[in-house]
């Protein structure tokens, strides 16, 4: 929100006030405003307010999205970290998609850090949504809710003709390779959502049975927009990359994450990342 003096006389002084509600935010928040003026040399000026928003309980994501074909388990993990100087206890008070999904709460550090692991039940061939609600012993944050989306309904999407650039490159590479030595669940990371919401996406990378796979990051050009964590699911074999949009980003972005692999036959894996945000009327979280 912004208030401003519409005109400033020659030699005069004016004000532009920016207001940002941090409700529902955590971590680094950066909000900018584009000021348009009749100054021919400064037609647009960018003003920025930023802050580090401290929350009593830090949650890696409030949205749990599980996508798959329903033939095998799909997992998603959420980390919960206590930020206050007192032990945190959690109790489940509501969980709706009981027959579609199971969850486990692991204690990473007693009273301090917990990990919730959501696992889909194989055989589910439908879409679903639900909620997991936790009660906490923190009066500052008595409840934490996770919105769960499952997409397991088979879709008949005709294959699209590759359009341009990297897509075309990928298509050519795929056509020349009978079976890729490294399985990558998706090379396109699409982070779409409401402005201000926590948006994350997971991709999985799997090497061959007999050969150890190691990954090294060689390029990542979205440091201020996005964070990623690489989880080792099975050492030298299966990895998971979780991409999460950093709070405060509401402008669309495109970028890449490039990984070097230990396989000479597939030395590089490139992920094309798109962030697309839709505006919302008010911050209602």
């Amino acid at each position: 929100m912004a208030n401003f003096d519409p005109a400033v006389p020659p030699g005069g002084e004016g004000k532009i006030t920016l207001k940002v509600d941090t409700k529902g935010y955590q971590g680094n928040v950066r909000k900018s405003a584009r000021v348009k003026t009749n100054d021919p040399e400064k037609q647009t000026v960018l003003l920025v307010v930023k802050a580090t928003v401290k929350v009593p309980i830090n949650v890696s994501s409030r949205y749990v999205q599980l996508y798959g074909k329903g033939d095998k388990e799909v997992q998603k993990t959420i980390n919960i970290v206590a930020e206050l100087d007192k032990p945190l206890n959690l109790t489940v008070i509501e969980f709706t998609p009981k027959d579609k999904l199971k969850y486990t709460i692991e204690t990473v550090q007693k009273g301090k850090e917990y990990r919730i692991r959501f696992t889909s039940i194989p055989g589910i061939k439908e879409n679903f949504r639900g909620i997991l609600k936790l009660k906490t012993n923190y009066s500052e944050k008595p409840e934490i809710s996770f919105v769960i989306h499952g997409r397991f309904k088979p879709m008949d999407i005709p294959p699209r003709a590759p359009s341009s650039g990297i897509k075309k490159e990928a298509a050519v590479r795929d056509a020349n390779t009978v079976k890729a030595p490294i399985y990558v669940s998706s090379r396109y990371v699409r982070l779409y959502g409401m402005e201000g919401a926590e948006i994350s996406k997971t991709v999985e990378i799997r090497g061959e049975e007999s050969k150890s796979l190691n990954l090294t990051i060689t390029e990542f050009n979205l440091k201020d927009k996005l964070k990623y964590t690489i989880e080792t699911l099975e050492k030298g074999k299966r990895y998971r990359i979780i991409f999460s949009v950093l709070p405060g980003n509401n402008r669309n972005f495109n970028g890449i994450l490039k990984l070097k692999t230990s396989y000479p036959e597939m030395p590089l894996i490139t992920f094309v990342i798109h962030g697309r945000f839709t505006k919302k009327g008010s911050n209602d979280r």
Binding site: P9, P10, G12, E13, I16, T17, T22, R34, E41, V49
Partner: protein
């Protein structure tokens, strides 16, 4: 004496043309902003951040703020 006069004239000329150049620079509206970025550092969730940026018009015509939109 003549030398002194010449220096005087020279100084006058520099002041005059310099002034003209300066006037040329300030023709029209000219905006300057006092600090374009403000860091609140650590805040508690739910805090409403509010900051006022001061703007100055160093030109010789009114400066209009046409719009301020989330950037």
């Amino acid at each position: 004496m003549k030398k002194l006069f010449l220096i005087f004239i020279g100084t006058l000329a520099v002041a005059f043309f310099g002034g003209m150049a300066l006037a040329q620079d300030n023709k029209g509206p000219r905006m300057t902003v006092e600090g374009r970025e403000f860091d609140f550092k650590e805040v508690k969730e739910g805090t409403v951040l509010e900051h006022t940026f001061k703007i100055f018009n160093n030109g010789n015509e009114p400066l209009k703020i046409i719009s301020v939109k989330p950037g």
